[in-house]
Symmetry: C2
DNA sequence: CCGGATCCGTAACGATACTG
DNA sequence: CAGTATCGTTACGGATCCGG
């Protein structure tokens, strides 16, 4: 695969793996559950099938990813993170946190997939607020359903097939969530307009917003001041 | 520069910068003080001058690095991290922490530079131990001198021109420090053999070892069990 | 349809040489 | 010392094709 840096340095060794094009994004895609080859192709627009195959082989050989052969009648196989691979994923979120400021409003030529909201949620969580909480939310974005569970600062997020019970079920479109995060809409407005629906406790729905969506970075008006 | 992923995702945006070959290592090189073009070439064996120039331009344009023109008679200029660049460096250390396990003993074809000990120290620090401490160490490795200051969990590390006073001055070769970290030598042995010299408080010299050098990962015997 | 392998044109990289 | 210029080699992106 890529050339080694030939340096006795932990940072260099890590970036021999994760510094190759697409590799960190492949790990991101696998962070919230196993995915098939075709799913990955779809989630990574622009990647070539040959590059993906090659990256997956490399990650398998390093035991960061393994291929699980589903029993018939599925007749398909999915790629999953090993425990070590998942621990790398957590570290990648450190960098995502740094990159949060690079994210202004979404440009027209940029792709966004609902699933990435979970990345956002895991990195943007207000840890101070989360310390005092123990709550489970269901988030419905378009056709996708996610479970987000906070337990005294610990966060668990996953994609679901069907709705489970939770302290609050929140329904919104990706556009609304992004606009909320970018401070283009206020929480009260979206609730009032019915585009951020909360079933269950309304206060829990607000806590979800405070925890995960509300921008922690300066708004454009604050920057101007 | 490198092609954009065209994804509205903080992780993708970050890796458009730091995912290019050499870029994370350039930031590593700048983490402990400004360096000249030629210094960088020397610290990054294998990089081409054209690639380095191009990476530095990119980092400058993103305001992660700036070029400081030293006043005459220095007649030279150095590259430095901006504050934002330094904050990225801190995040990179998260990944270095993950990669620590990839570091076995040093291979013969691998390069090692004394300065990287500071990377190691910043990522390997035993945080629990550090919480209770407030101490400054001088580390002399071959011709290089470093100041490492711990203050209740906060760590500050820099390269020095000359020795300052500190709680302990430790003198050792890089080979000894690496062998210590790899558990090939014990602390008591190296002190007794005089290859890990401590001026000042001996106990402080031992704390330095416990804090920064002692391997936190399983030894080969523990793995076998 | 899924999971690739193969081929091909283009862009990035590494090494060396050259310049202010 | 601080780069730029050139050139051969490698990696990537896109398309096509193939076996299960």
């Amino acid at each position: 695969m890529g050339k080694s840096y030939k340096q006795y340095c932990a940072l260099a060794k890590t970036f021999e793996i994760v510094g190759e094009r697409w590799t960190p994004l492949i790990i991101r895609e696998l962070m919230f559950g196993g995915r098939r080859f075709a799913d990955l192709i779809e989630g990574l627009p622009g990647i070539g099938a040959s590059v993906l195959a090659s990256r997956l082989k490399d990650l398998e050989s390093r035991e960061l990813v393994y291929k699980a052969h589903l029993p018939p009648p599925a007749a398909s196989s999915i790629y999953q993170l090993t425990e070590r691979g998942a621990s790398l994923g957590e570290k990648l979120l450190c960098l995502a946190e740094w990159g949060m400021e690079l994210l202004g409003g979404k440009a027209d030529d940029e792709v966004f997939q609902n699933r990435w909201i979970l990345v956002h949620i895991k990195t943007a969580m207000d840890r101070e607020l989360a310390e005092a909480l123990s709550e489970t939310y269901i988030l419905k974005v378009d056709e996708d359903i996610y479970r987000i569970k906070v337990d005294h600062g610990e966060l668990e997020a996953a994609q679901l097939i069907e709705i489970e019970k939770a302290d609050a079920v929140i329904t919104a479109t990706a556009a609304v969530l992004l606009a909320l995060h970018d401070n283009q809409l206020s929480f009260d407005d979206v609730v009032e307009q019915g585009v951020y629906k909360v079933e269950g406790e309304l206060a829990a729905g607000r806590r979800f917003y405070e925890l995960f969506i509300k921008a922690k970075r300066p708004t454009s008006t604050e920057v101007a001041a």
